[in-house]
Symmetry: C2
Subunit: 489 residues, 2 copies
């Protein structure tokens, strides 16, 4: 069992991270199939104790057990997808240029491949105790890349983190791998010490902008800076064209309330703004919809407190009005929240950017517009976002709108809601600052592995001395590019 | 003609960067073939004025004209390779996951592709007025990615930068493209203002560690941080095994002197350290070799001054001795330098890390060792490097050595010298900090384009509204991954 708790002193920390470093080097030298098998074993060990893990998570987070069971299934799928991706091998990004003595100047044989960065520090999120927890997507993708993981548990679910650590530890032991491939760290201060340690080669975080920015800065200011991937939040604008609003307003309103209340709004993809054509929102249908919802728990007391403070500020914002009859829970002491909707004009929203801030809870602002061009201008001035959604009819020309959105967000949806992030080869879960600290990477699915790789080239080596991946005989059977041409496997 | 000189005021700067921004959006919307054709036209326009450009560069830098002519040919090759890479299309990294209504939860169609980051600020280097100049590899790869470029000229060759700007401008005009796809900036202060401007989306730099670190920090501390790729320098260790030293010492010594004097040592890949088995260097053969060299010009006065200061410090370092009879030019006032060699033991080198600092000029330290394990330990403690070279015989087991080097450097060479960086699909020119500010990227060849791309996903779009690249009909004929499986083009 490898847990660094708050009582860990500097010497014990150094010893533990030396172990992490050694384990990471050993893990880096495994073949894709070995790595894939070990990941699948972790997935199996997790799945065997699903009921127990869900029960612990439900008690600690107050998230309903059925939602947690779904999240746990997704988390196991993430680990299995990471296993599939690492076995497939395209992440190695192999490129071989053979010797060309005739070229001027002559070209020596050289071959490039990706190698793991080294040990990764993962910060677990509050709102997804499994999917973005200590054995979530960051950990799965760092392992897949060939990196040992040190995971900082979230204080909202400490018992769960310890349970998951024992399951991972057992799976690693069964695979004959060192326990130090996974170390649990508890406490913010200790985690920052780990982030500063020379053995740590990258960091990954899902949480608030404030936390993500602070940790990114720590990573940048190290004597040897390291990449830090913070997925920090988003207000996920939804734009409804006049035609779509006319054709299916009731359906879209129902979709909004449904999407914004998933996980009681505590999702980084929760739709916090919906642009609808004027003249403002009457609220009768919305009121009916919201009356079908009720107060639901928040994952931690501080998340609840921040949410209530956020909607309190919104209520005091000039030009922003609560949808009549729908004000939601305003009890700052409660660790729960009731869905709440607001309306504002696009002019108000543009003069007060606080309207576009993420609330992280079941709150959304319906922004009325007269002219879609005003929405385009507003989008251009928005902070970077994880997602933006467009609701449009077939007759609508949305070319310009989609182009604008593509410049500000990581994922554009058409007639679909942003909550629900598929774990797949093609998902992109990230976006321009401050949605992510690094817009070039995403944290979900196959792409997540690339955050923990860097290229190395080998020049003028004889076949037998090359790493297996870049040998011409291709013993790993992975995709290779040769002299600029992608080869069939 | 688009040149921002030191007299440019804030308002003119804003206007110019607004133009850059608009040009970048237009350029981003071009097809790969359009972009490729425009790049090839730039290459042709450059090639037509090769003699004139080389003459200007020779006058400004004092680099011999034949070496500059070779560099110019290489630079044109870089632009043509960028054109080839952009047309080939794998940089789009397209991944399509089709709808799966049967999955639990159901999966909506979603498709990921790379898009350009936006305008890139390029800082030209002193030592390669063409290859890493205002129309060098950074500019070519940023254009290929679909980004407009603002290039800061190096004060060592201002007239050349203006000439290159007119050639590029003419080529862009001939292609019907806006002149603002390429803007020349003069002066450090103005360049920093540009780096801070909201329209700039990334930066690229080749030069000193001091300069690269300072600019990286500016990029990180912007309200919206942007990626900054600084390629900063390296001492490029060479390790000779006892067997190789016994078998071909004279050949290796000749190779060292040849490699360290390429471009009078003013290369980021110049071999600054050679580990050879003890008992120290007698220097007779080396003396003969160096007597065949002579003082040669340095590219700028400040480069010459820094070099002389650096070797002055080396001469005063305890345990470091000049190879007898070979001391080189020590005249700090001269804008020239004579090749110089030093010897030290591995013990001395390890206690004084200054021995491993880059001198940026024709100086190399021969470090004698008794036990190759001491070299391994020294390598592990080294700063990140662009390259490391191993000279070994067939009987040598260099597995551990190559593994160690792979963790500290970007390119490992076997029985080859690091100077000379092929412009190819497979080169990696970069390395762990402080060789590069970001070890995950390289600045030469096909890989360089990736520094200026980020992913965007499109979810639940109908075919006709998708960007062409990710349409199932694949109108661009580029490689696409579908449901996790790479498709033949």
């Amino acid at each position: 069992m490898t847990v660094l708790d708050v009582a860990t002193d500097a010497s014990a920390l150094t010893d533990a991270l030396d172990e992490t470093h050694r384990a990471s080097e050993l893990w880096a030298s495994t073949t894709p199939l070995e790595r894939s098998a070990a990941l699948n074993r972790v997935a199996s060990f997790l799945a065997e104790r699903a009921d127990e893990a869900v029960a612990v998570a439900a008690r600690e987070t107050l998230i309903p057990a059925d939602r947690l069971a779904g999240e746990f299934t997704r988390t196991i799928k993430q680990v299995r997808l990471a296993a599939e991706v690492v076995a497939e091998g395209s992440w190695l990004d192999i490129s071989i240029t053979e010797e060309n003595a005739e070229a001027k100047p002559p070209v020596r044989d050289h071959r490039r491949m990706n190698v793991p960065l080294g040990p990764v520090l993962v910060f677990a999120a509050s709102n997804f105790p499994f999917a973005f927890g200590v054995v979530g997507t960051d950990t799965a993708s760092a392992w897949a890349a060939g990196c040992a993981v040190v995971a900082k548990g979230h204080p909202g679910h400490p018992e769960l983190a310890r349970l998951l650590e024992t399951l991972v530890s057992a799976a690693l032991s069964e695979s004959g791998l060192p326990a130090a491939l996974f170390t649990l760290v508890e406490g913010d201060e200790l985690a920052v010490e780990v982030l500063k340690h020379p053995h740590i080669a990258a960091g990954a975080f899902t949480g608030s902008i404030r936390g993500g920015v602070a940790l990114t800065r720590v990573a940048e200011e190290r004597p040897v800076p390291i990449p830090f991937y913070a997925e920090m939040g988003s207000v996920n604008p939804v734009i409804v064209t006049p035609r779509a609003w006319a054709a299916r307003r009731a359906e879209i309103e129902a979709g909004l309330v449904s999407s914004m209340t998933v996980s009681n709004g505590q999702l980084c993809t929760s739709p916090g703004i919906l642009f609808a054509p004027g003249p403002g929102v009457t609220g009768e249908h919305l009121l009916t919809l919201l009356q079908g919802t009720s107060a639901a728990p928040m994952v931690t007391e501080s998340v609840a407190r921040e949410f209530h403070a956020g909607i309190g500020r919104l209520a005091e914002t000039k030009g922003v009005t609560g949808v009549p009859g729908v004000t939601g829970s305003r009890d700052p002491a409660a660790r729960s929240a009731t869905p709440v909707l607001w309306s504002a004009s696009v002019a108000v929203a543009r003069t007060d950017p606080s309207v576009f801030q993420e609330r992280f809870g079941p709150s959304s602002v319906i922004v009325s517009y007269d002219d879609l061009d005003d929405v385009l201008d507003t989008i251009d001035a928005l902070d970077g976002q994880l997602t933006a959604s467009v609701f449009a009819e077939d007759e609508d020309d949305i070319t310009a709108l989609v182009e604008h959105l593509g410049r500000r967000v990581g994922r554009v949806l058409l007639n679909d809601w942003p909550t629900g992030v598929a774990v797949s080869w093609s998902m992109h879960h990230g976006g321009p600052w401050p949605a992510s600290s690094n817009a070039m990477y995403g944290s979900v699915g196959a792409e997540a592995i690339r955050r923990f790789l860097r290229p190395v080239a080998y020049q003028n080596f004889d076949e037998g001395r090359l790493p297996a991946a870049v040998q011409s005989s291709n013993p790993w059977g992975v995709s290779q590019r040769v002299n600029g041409v992608a080869q069939p496997c």
